[in-house]
């Protein structure tokens, strides 16, 4: 396996909350680790940590320690070999807005630590706040996760429009979550792609569709990633297909 000198950075965002970003990020990370890659997953929901909850791990240090001058590697915990997690904090509203100084500090640390990983995945918060926009601006790729309902579709489009207008980002990969089947996912994607191309001249790519799977919500409640709990489930199989293309 080739080891990259610097990691590929993928930002997972959505606009709308509650579409399954964190679950997707956690399980995609695990799928990449299973394929032999070294993965760092950053919980970018800085004030409302979720990644550690979905993994069922307890954390001692968080990204807040990094922002306050602590060493990045000391704040990373390893739920398994080759899988590092930089947790966020819970219930600290001040963490949500990254100022230029915090951005600079985190950026410096990430560049240094990227050499220890093949992939850096960033699970952003919902919305289009400062931290979300900054994380997307530093990523090599932005993956937009959405569900096939009007609010999620509109928010995903709005997110892409903001990123296009503010940062000139024109290419996005989309994952449709909680779909009835792949056909429904492709239908939503095709329409969104056509609108984005017509109005914004964006280049959208279909990364995959994850079908509705009752195992997913059960896994979340049990704080076990669904890839681990039900590796042969529909959602787990879909994630593995997506990991092949990342």
């Amino acid at each position: 396996m080739n080891r990259l000198l610097t990691a590929k950075t993928i930002c997972i965002t959505s606009g709308k909350g509650g579409v399954g970003k964190t679950s997707f990020a956690v399980n995609l990370s695990m799928s990449l680790v299973a394929k032999g890659h070294r993965v760092l997953l950053i919980d970018g929901d800085l004030g409302l940590a979720n990644v550690d909850l979905l993994l069922g791990i307890s954390v001692q240090k968080t990204i807040r320690d990094v922002m306050e001058g602590g060493a990045l590697m000391e704040s990373i915990c390893f739920p398994s070999e080759n899988f590092g997690v930089l947790p966020a904090t819970s219930g600290i509203p001040e963490m949500v807005d990254l100022g230029p100084e915090e951005q600079g500090r985190i950026g410096t640390y990430l560049r240094a630590v990227a050499e220890s990983f093949d992939y850096v995945l960033i699970d952003t918060a919902a919305g289009i706040g400062t931290s979300v926009l900054w994380f997307t601006s530093i990523a090599d790729e932005v993956v937009i996760l959405l569900t096939p309902d009007p609010t999620s579709i509109t928010d995903a489009y709005a997110m892409m429009k903001v990123l296009a207008q503010k940062y000139g980002r024109k290419t996005f990969r989309l994952v449709l979550n909680n779909v009835t089947d792949v056909r429904e996912g492709l239908g939503v994607f095709n329409n969104l792609r056509d609108v984005a191309e017509r109005f914004l001249k964006l280049d959208l790519h279909f990364l995959g569709a994850i079908p509705h799977d009752t195992d997913v919500s059960q896994a979340i409640r049990e704080q076990v990633p669904f890839l681990k709990r039900t590796p042969d489930g529909e959602a787990a199989r879909a994630i593995q297909v997506i990991a092949e293309q990342v």
Partner: protein, 220 residues
């Protein structure tokens, strides 16, 4: 840049000196073509080509181009009362303020007389308004030293933005921002005018047409 060398290392070769002289003359000519001699800002000729370039960049990238036009207030009186030499000093002082309070990528130009245009690449109207306000306040706050007097200057500002999807020529864009300068003059000078509707509706807002298109049909 390295001083030219004789390719055959002849000690008395006249070519290096000639080449160096030509290089300096070329730089001087390039400045004459682009730079306003009095203020050191870019001149009108450069303004048109630079603005065309930035508007093309907006069309390709989707990132807006901001434009600020500045007209010094009551400048005819400055010339009439203090003379043209002092008027030139005032223009240089204003130009100095623009240069000190802009980003390196911003393009300040002397449009003509006491008018200036500042191109703000990758800048939306809200940020452009902030820039204009900053320049306006700085100009009003800093005393201008003439030969024998110290005066205060103010200016009227027009602020506009070129967004992706707009069909506009360079001339039309400049004319549009000029109208806002006129509005600022009519409203009492020493202020910045812009389209409040445009400022209230950011370029990133999803339009009604886009929303309707998102749910028109779904392809199987």
């Amino acid at each position: 840049m390295k001083y030219p060398q004789c390719p055959h290392d002849h000690p008395d070769c006249p070519l290096p000196a000639d080449l160096e002289r030509l290089r300096r003359e070329r730089e001087t000519l390039r400045d004459l073509v682009s730079v306003d001699e009095l203020t050191g800002l870019f001149n009108f000729r450069f303004l048109k080509s630079a603005l065309e370039r930035e508007m093309e960049r907006t069309r390709r990238t989707g990132l807006s181009t901001g434009l600020v036009m500045v007209d010094l207030d009551h400048f005819k009186q400055v010339n009439d009362v203090y003379g043209h030499e002092n008027g030139n000093l005032a223009l240089q002082a204003a130009a100095g303020i623009w240069k000190n309070h802009l980003r390196k990528i911003d393009i300040p130009c002397r449009y003509g007389g006491e008018e200036f245009v500042i191109i703000l690449p990758n800048t939306g109207i809200r940020d452009a308004i902030q820039v204009a306000e900053r320049l306006r306040q700085e100009l009003a706050a800093v005393p201008v030293e003439l030969e024998t007097e110290t005066i205060r200057l103010t200016a009227s500002f027009g602020v506009d933005e070129y967004r992706e999807g707009e069909s506009l020529t360079v001339e039309a864009f400049i004319h549009r921002v000029d109208m806002f300068v006129l509005a600022a003059k009519n409203e009492g000078r020493n202020r910045a005018c812009y389209d409040p509707a445009r400022a209230a509706r950011p370029a990133t807002e999803v339009t009604a047409e886009e929303r309707a298109s998102l749910f028109l049909k779904r392809k199987p």
